[in-house]
């Protein structure tokens, strides 16, 4: 009986070291398993359907990765800050339509700049609603999604704006070897996002705000200003995705990116960024975007009806968040309030 107490203690200690060791291993695996999943999915589908390995298809996957990934770079900043933006589809549509409309009159660079600025302005609208009017982010941006879509519909009158400039198309759909320009842009943007998130005081404020907003406020951080800025940055990222999408489709219309917010959020969450805020992984986000690109192209190649993509994306999103919630048994996120 006398020995039980020390045994319990050592056992507890052992258990503690074991759990910390397992959790380290788990976190390592959880960081790398996604890449493994992507590779395995890619290889398996390729074995079933050899044309999956073709250069054209690989390029398609990279294009798709780039569109979702570029938008997801903005989203990962928002989610790290404990925010969310559902108006992605609206911002993409408006900025793509802007590019299509101004291209005949200006240079390509200016057109892209205009689109990105418009994206930042739309982001600012979201940011002001969330920071100063104090509306919960997901509901405010759900409202602005329809506002922006409405703007896009009214601007085009419901028509398709065609992008005729061949130089613009070459710039947005060209490729360096097998790597398309949008994908290279994604890599640069991801590096910038990583730098912004983990090496600047802005990123630090963002992470502090995401893990505990009240504490960040009391520590004298400019929470409202940071929120407004991060929504602007995210809006600019969405707009950039819209620019490349307009080039790829060689047209722009209000419906061009309906429902993309789910893929973007799913890419971020599947990549390992917690919806509770406070930390974000840019690398994981890019891999998450790639996973969905591989999945959607695989479904295409295997001849599955496109409707299944809704179901697959939604199911992967739920599973990813559920696994995250299981890992941390802490209180759940509250979207409202």
């Amino acid at each position: 009986m006398t020995t039980t107490a020390p045994t319990i203690k050592t056992e507890a200690k052992e258990a503690a070291t074991k759990t910390s060791a397992t959790s380290t291993i788990l976190s390592l695996i959880s960081h790398q398993y996604l890449l493994a999943v992507v590779v395995v999915a890619f290889v398996v589908v390729g074995l079933i359907q050899p044309s999956f390995f073709g250069a054209g298809n690989v390029q398609n996957i990279l294009f798709e990765t780039a569109f979702v990934g570029i938008a997801a770079c903005g989203m990962v900043l928002l989610i790290t800050g404990g925010l969310l933006d559902l108006s992605v589809g609206g911002v993409i549509a408006v900025s793509a339509i802007a590019v299509g409309t101004v291209l005949p009159y200006t240079t390509i660079g200016l057109a892209i700049l205009i689109a990105v600025v418009i994206g930042a302005v739309l982001g600012l609208v979201n940011g002001l609603l969330v920071s100063y009017v104090k509306i919960a982010p997901f509901i405010a941006t759900l409202g602005t999604l329809y506002l922006f879509l409405g703007v896009a519909f009214i601007w085009t009158g419901g028509q398709v704006v065609s992008v005729t400039s061949s130089n613009f198309r070459a710039l947005t759909t060209g490729s360096l070897g097998v790597l398309p320009y949008p994908f290279l842009t994604l890599i640069v943007l991801a590096l910038l996002t990583y730098f912004l998130l983990s090496r600047t005081s802005f990123g630090r404020t963002l992470r502090a705000m995401g893990s505990n907003q009240r504490a960040a406020e009391l520590a004298g951080m400019h929470v409202n200003l940071t929120k407004a800025i991060v929504f602007m940055v995210a809006g600019a990222c969405f707009a950039l995705a819209g620019v490349f999408l307009a080039g790829r489709l060689s047209s722009a219309e209000a419906n061009m990116a309906t429902g993309i917010e789910m893929s973007v959020i799913a890419a971020v969450v599947v990549g390992g960024t917690s919806l509770r805020g406070g930390r974000g992984t840019v690398f994981g986000t890019v891999i998450g975007a790639m996973l969905f690109a591989v999945l959607s192209k695989a479904l295409n190649m295997l001849g599955v009806t496109s409707y299944w993509q809704y179901i697959v994306t939604g199911a992967v999103l739920v599973v990813a968040v559920a696994i995250g919630a299981r890992r941390r048994s802490a209180a759940e996120v509250r979207g409202a309030g």
Partner: protein, 348 residues
């Protein structure tokens, strides 16, 4: 000298009493301001839109337009009642539109195959299953409600599209089709259904223990858990009820349209949330206002009908809806800020 401690005690007692009276007064003031803002939030826009409609819109008061508005408002209201319950619980259900599409499609096929009653039952059963899926994902797998239902919004939409193969389904049963178009004593049946269902929801939320529990969970899930309320069970039931309400509305919609397809009711979540918040239910949870939801649904139906009659392109309805939602939400947050100011008056 002897009196000094007694004096002190008396002082403490009076100051405590003063404190209590003061805080009660603050509480009253907060409640008063809240209820004023809440009522103004719905009644002023309602009256303004009604007047604007009567003055500016030709044939706004024609019998057919009134019937139209009542039916549209009723169908929206039934969906929004369920949303009111979920939002009072501090949750959200973004999947109502997709749920409604699945229910309408299942009901349409079942009505065509087996007749009217089995069709309705099949539709309701489908709604309950989808609600269970939402509820289980939120409670058992602890996925935040807005992300869980965002995912099921996609999943259910995919199911609806797969089920129909992207083609519209005509409903051949004329008895089913006449449900939404017939009226009793000149009042359209959907409106009567909406009033009855609303009365049911009001009774449950305001007068029954379950409703008190819903509001308690929405006010503070932690305290609700501590006081022994089975939070997860309440949440699960609320999501099932919300889906069932969306399903009933879907049946009426299918009956009204006579033909359904997989992309039915997309974007419905925004309308439902907008009318719930406009009706005075706070996004912060802890308060549900069924009557406000009902009035706000009629308001939105009036706006849509008015814009239609004025031949405004339908895109502008998006803008109107988005602005309405942002307006309602700003009012909600202003209301909360007002209450906070009253309570924290001295500190700030």
């Amino acid at each position: 000298m002897v009196n000094a401690p007694q004096l002190l005690q008396v002082d403490v007692v009076t100051s405590a009493e003063q404190e209590r009276r003061e805080s009660a007064r603050r509480g009253d003031r907060a409640a008063r301001r809240q209820s004023i803002l809440q009522k103004l939030g719905i009644i002023i826009p309602f009256v303004l839109v009604l007047l604007a409609g009567i003055v500016l819109v030709p044939s706004f008061l024609s019998a057919s337009n009134i019937t139209n508005m009542l039916v549209d408002g009723a169908i929206l209201a039934i969906t929004a009642y369920g949303m009111t319950m979920v939002i009072a619980l501090r949750g959200i259900d973004l999947s109502v539109g997709s749920t409604q599409a699945v229910v309408a499609c299942v009901a349409a096929v079942s009505v065509n195959a087996w007749g009217i009653l089995p069709g309705i039952l099949a539709g309701i059963a489908a709604a309950i299953i989808l609600g269970l899926v939402n509820g289980l994902i939120v409670t058992t797998f602890r996925v935040p409600a807005f992300i869980a239902t965002l995912a099921t919004l996609g999943i259910f939409r995919g199911i609806a599209l797969l089920f129909t193969g992207g083609a519209p389904i005509m409903i051949t049963d004329s008895a089913f089709r006449s449900i939404a178009t017939s009226s009793i004593f000149g009042i359209p049946v959907p409106f009567i259904v909406a009033v009855l269902v609303g009365a049911g929801f009001w009774f449950v939320l305001d007068r029954m223990r379950f409703g008190k529990h819903v509001v308690a969970v929405g006010g503070s899930p932690e305290s609700a858990t501590d006081s022994g309320i089975k939070v997860k069970r309440i949440e699960l039931i609320a999501y099932v009820v919300a889906a069932a309400a969306a399903g009933v509305a879907g049946l009426l919609l299918a009956s009204q349209l006579g033909s359904v397809n997989g992309s039915l009711s997309s974007g419905l979540e925004l309308q439902a949330i907008a009318v719930v918040v406009l009706g005075g239910t706070s996004m912060a949870g802890g308060r549900g206002n069924i009557i406000g939801t009902f009035l706000a649904s009629l308001l939105l139906a009036m706006i849509n009908a008015g814009l239609n009659l004025l031949n405004v392109p339908s895109f502008y309805q998006y803008i109107a809806l988005g602005m309405l939602l942002v307006f309602a939400l700003s009012l909600d947050s202003a209301q909360r800020a007002a209450v906070r100011r009253v309570f924290e008056g001295r500190v700030a």
